[in-house]
Point group: C2
Chain length 200, copies 2
């Protein structure tokens, strides 16, 4: 384990965490483009120098925010899928957990709306290959292994499902407050039907 941290290290970690917290809040509220590093710095009561000490660039700040949210998402969705009798039911449980998560401002807006805008599609997809796409591809491969899946082309079908779920995330994230639950349920119904079209 890591040896006891010095006071300096603790302070440093605290400002870094504070920067990430305000960055998360402001990116979610006003979007990546409309939030300057100075905004983040001032709101955290430091200067832009501090930001550039802790992060390489504005994009790096977003990536740190983004990565944390995706890790949390992976953990929660995996937990929801655990202990289901077969791959298909696990996938459906995961789907419900995912759609719930999309109702939360930070995850829905940041990962599905702001993510591509901030990182560009290519880099955003690099991250997603580790997170959302990896989960989806895992479920589909498991379903295929259990003979539950119709013969659909392997990597492309996972990508399409990924984009379908991303679309759901965006629909939900763009709505406000109470509408979200209704949209979430509409998405759940429709997506289930569409995925059923892929069953054996």
């Amino acid at each position: 384990m890591s040896r006891p941290k010095s006071r300096r290290e603790l302070y440093s970690e605290a400002t870094r965490a504070a920067l990430l917290e305000t960055a998360t809040a402001m990116f979610a509220e006003r979007g990546f483009a409309r939030t300057s590093l100075d905004d983040i710095a001032v709101a955290t009561q430091v200067t832009r120098g501090a930001v550039y000490h802790h992060f390489e660039s504005k994009q790096a700040v977003f990536e740190a925010v983004f990565d944390a949210l995706e890790q949390d998402m992976t953990a929660r969705v995996s937990a929801a899928a655990a202990g289901q009798p077969d791959a298909w039911q696990a996938a459906m449980a995961a789907l419900d957990a995912f759609l719930d998560l999309c109702c939360e401002d930070r995850y829905g807006r940041l990962c599905w709306l702001e993510g591509p805008l901030a990182l560009g599609w290519a880099r955003w997809m690099d991250y997603e290959k580790k997170y959302a796409f990896a989960l989806i591809d895992g479920f589909l491969q498991a379903a295929r292994a259990e003979g539950l899946l119709a013969p659909v082309p392997a990597p492309t079908s996972s990508e399409l499902v990924f984009h379908l779920l991303g679309g759901a995330g965006r629909i939900i994230a763009e709505a406000q407050g109470a509408d979200r639950r209704a949209l979430r349920d509409d998405c759940a119904v429709t997506i289930r039907r569409m995925l059923n079209g892929m069953r054996a």
Copy 2:
């Protein structure tokens, strides 16, 4: 009809068209963010002043490019769907035409990859409501009217199909050259299956 144009008007229209042409090419090749208005102006052998004379802003340039591509797409896809025996077969013909179009650099990259980055999701969606989404929603409503559709929630299911097709567009547009046709066909197969899940 418009009266015969003066030489000045003709020149002006020509430079505007030239600006749109180089803008289309450069946005498709290097992306919206990495293309400056000066790049476009120089490549067209004018100055940024000319650009700002014809367009209100950089975003307005992109919108002009984008709108033209979407109009072309609407026309081509509608033509492909015309004269089919029922709504479902019309939709399938439209799907094939759409996926073909996504193989073309300008349409696929500009409308589905660069569009949201350049305009932001909200404004991009405003446009799409007039074009791709309108088409999709039209096909689904027709299918519903003909009793071909399972009871899926009306506006949301159209949006999900829209995002699904957008995902396909992105998958195809991000690939290079020869891969595209293979991916296009994989997408066609998978999407058909998923849409079949929505049939009555």
